[in-house]
Amino acid sequence: MKEVKSSTVSVVILVLAAGAGLLGIQLRDRVDAPIQQANSMVSPTLVASVENDVTVSIAEGDYFREIKSLVEREYVEKVTDEQKLAAGAVRGMVGSLNDPNSLYYDKKQFNTFLNARVGKYEGVGAEFALVLRGEENLAASKEPDEGGMSAEEALASKARVPRLMVTSLTPGGPADQAGVKPGDLVYSVDNHWVINTDMLVRFQKAQREFAAKKISLSELNQVRKEIRAKTERALLPMRAWERLMMGTKGNLAVTWERNGKKRDTTIAKATSEMPGSGVIGNAYRLALRQGAEAGLKQYLQNSKAKPVRIDLRQNTNGDFAAMQKCLAVLAPTGTYGMMAGDRAETNKPLVVKSGNAAAPMVEFLVDETTRGAAEVLALAMQSKGRAKLAGGKTGGAAFSTLVVQIPDGSGYTLVTGEYKVSGGAK
């Protein structure tokens, strides 16, 4: 299969056995037993003894230290920044989860991500999520994260490549003005096709059809050519995210996909804002940021409306701790379902310790732009009959997410639980 190249090229190697004076010893010596001899430089704790037939497990910290010093000693260029190595390892670990909601962000990306959490946007002024759509049939792969993969490798591997979907828009921001809607998928950015597995699926289908003599060779070659043209200039989803989220100057040509139809737009990048908490019309917009509970409390005291209307739309990246404080303002003491994982240590009841005994009934305005912490809030209140949901279906991402920044300035998100009504006291 020449057309969709596998990763063979990166597996291209010259095997040389090392030895103490690596570049000084005779070629002959090195090549006779390329694998077995290559160990005298590795720390004795990690070196494989050739006859060893037992499976050994090495603790993760020791493993990291040994490989790090091996790289520092042997790599052709001087390795000066050990935090970069750590960040790489974090990227690898987070990426291995293959979870579109647990993501590693490099320093620049993480900065953008943090700004968005306080409502500050650049680029097209939209919030995006990675979603897997209809690709669950492809076996999950053990490949590391997309950052370590070329576009070709991502295509050729069976990795589930998620798509980039708009989850909310800054009101009046560049994308909003261009008619972009939540749910739109990013198809291409500046004529770079955003990679997804559709192409691979299509090619495999064409191959099967050719094998079964349902299509001709020239038809197969047509698909092959199209894929080549596209993959040569393909962008991985997070790279596309970067282009869409960063910068305040210049235009972006973006093609969006809605219900299978494509739409071309030219969008001028600019700063824009996602509004904070405050009264908008006859409802209170609750932006789940630090300190949100104070404003909410005040609003409840002053509001005469029954039920109290709270707008949770355009609310996709709320802070979970802030949400819990708001829940305590909106609801009496009790248990409101749980944040659940697949084992005991990750099941955490959603408990309000000292709640608001006099809390009023609430009507939440929700739709697909209600995700994450906001969605958990809505579902938790609804589960106990404390709130009615009005609007549309929520986003379907009721997760609690941990956000961590590591020393080099990059960071990651980690889903720690998914909201479940049962399991907690109902």
Partner: protein, 415 residues
């Protein structure tokens, strides 16, 4: 700013020591903490400046215990190490976890326990493409063109080819029963084959009737490659060929020594490659003496973008010493040397330890732009010709392989 301060102190209690570290830097520099920075980091856990090892440990433990789905500790650990090595930005410096490491060493040694045949996917099962003449399958009567429809009594139609191969492979000396469909046979044929250690030939040759030329395809540079090359070449020489095409397309490389041995068939005691390591350490690999063959006919070498590493050293050397004409498209541009470090848990680390330069002194390292698109690097063929993808392709058949046809045409002009 009273309110701001209260919130700030409050957040300290929530965030704990990580946040303290963050704020402490600002305080030490005589600044009030930047309100924007702290509020942005609300709800963000920070890992204070710590050793990289500590960052790794903490993240590992965070994911292992905090992630909502169960994670296999070993997979997580290996993914972390892969990421560590990936952070160097060199696609050739990689970590190979235990399973991948085993497959790699199998690949470079060219040995596996099987029956000695190359298979390809077929609607009925697995089509036999090549049968190695010194393997057990050949002895048992398996021939190219047969289609394997059953393995050990189980139908294999509809299964992926890798799965079928997996069923055929097994322990040395054990038996596998195949049922095959043969084009002209009336009934399926059943045969028992004893699995053996197979040395997969990396060299295959063909006498091209029409042009009276020899075609030698080298699929990779493994340990037995040189011997196989000599053997195939002797066979072709018996036919009194008038030219030779060496096909290195899609040859990803392999052992450097094999490239040097093959070079020794053309030039003796000449630089094959110069390796420059860290701190400017240099080593020159030379071809051996006493192995030069007689070349009474012109030689062409086919390359493409998947020809890399040892392929490029061999082809580049032939080009520099004017021993062959390169035909095809530019090669990959892999100009670095890796070493493999085995690790006690059976994984291994492959690390770039040096860069190499061809005999003419040129560095052919691949350069790509931000989008990963090829900019420069690799060998430039003397005669540039793209593979025609429009028709049916059969490598080694000049009628269905326009690059080979072109190489033959070039050789004809040299006779």
């Amino acid at each position: 700013m009273n309110v701001g301060k209260t919130i700030f102190v409050g957040s300290l209690a929530v965030l704990g020591s990580g946040a303290l570290g963050f704020v402490w830097r600002d305080l030490k520099q005589g600044k009030m903490p930047d309100a924007g920075a702290t509020s942005r980091l609300a709800g963000v856990r920070t890992v204070a400046k710590q050793s990289s090892e500590e960052v790794f440990r903490q993240t590992f433990s965070q994911i292992r215990h905090g992630y909502y789905r169960a994670v296999k500790p070993d997979s997580l650990k290996y993914a972390g190490i892969q990421g560590l090595m990936g952070s160097l930005g060199d696609p050739h410096t990689i970590f190979l976890p235990p399973r991948a490491a085993a497959a790699f060493s199998e690949e470079t040694r060219g040995n596996f326990y099987g029956v000695g045949a190359r298979l390809q996917g077929d609607t009925l099962g697995a089509a036999v493409r090549t049968v190695f003449e010194d393997g057990p399958a050949y002895a048992a009567g398996l021939r190219a063109g047969d289609v394997i429809i059953q393995v050990n009594g189980k139908k294999v139609s509809g299964q992926p080819i890798d799965d079928i191969v997996q069923q055929i492979k097994g322990k040395e000396g054990t038996l596998v029963t195949l049922v095959i469909a043969r084009p002209k046979a009336e009934k399926p044929i059943s045969m028992q084959i004893k699995r053996a250690r197979i040395v997969a030939p990396s060299v295959e040759s063909k006498y091209l009737e029409g042009s009276k030329m020899g075609y030698v395809s080298i699929s990779n540079f493994a340990e037995p490659t040189t011997e196989q090359f000599d053997k195939e070449l002797s066979r072709l020489d018996e036919k009194k060929i008038t030219g030779l095409v060496i096909d290195l397309r899609s040859n990803p490389g392999g052992l450097l020594d094999t490239a040097a041995e093959l070079m020794s068939r053309f030039v003796e005691n000449k630089t094959v490659v110069t390796m420059r390591g860290r701190d400017g350490r240099e080593e020159i690999v030379r071809s051996y003496s006493g192995a030069v063959r007689n070349w009474p006919y012109p030689v062409a070498v086919l390359i493409d973008e998947n020809s890399a590493s040892a392929s490029e050293i061999f082809a580049g050397g032939l080009q520099d010493y004017k021993k062959a004409t390169l035909v095809g498209t530019h090669s990959y541009g892999k100009a670095s040397v890796q070493n493999i470090y085995p690790i006690i848990d059976r994984s291994s680390a492959k690390i770039t330890i040096a860069k190499y330069y061809l005999p003419g002194g040129e560095f052919i390292g691949r350069k790509v732009d931000d989008d990963g698109i090829f900019v420069s690097g690799g060998l430039k063929p003397d005669v540039e010709v793209e593979l025609n993808l429009d028709g049916e392709i059969e490598f080694g058949n000049p009628a269905k392989d326009n690059q080979l046809q072109r190489a033959i045409d070039v050789l004809k002009t040299k006779n």
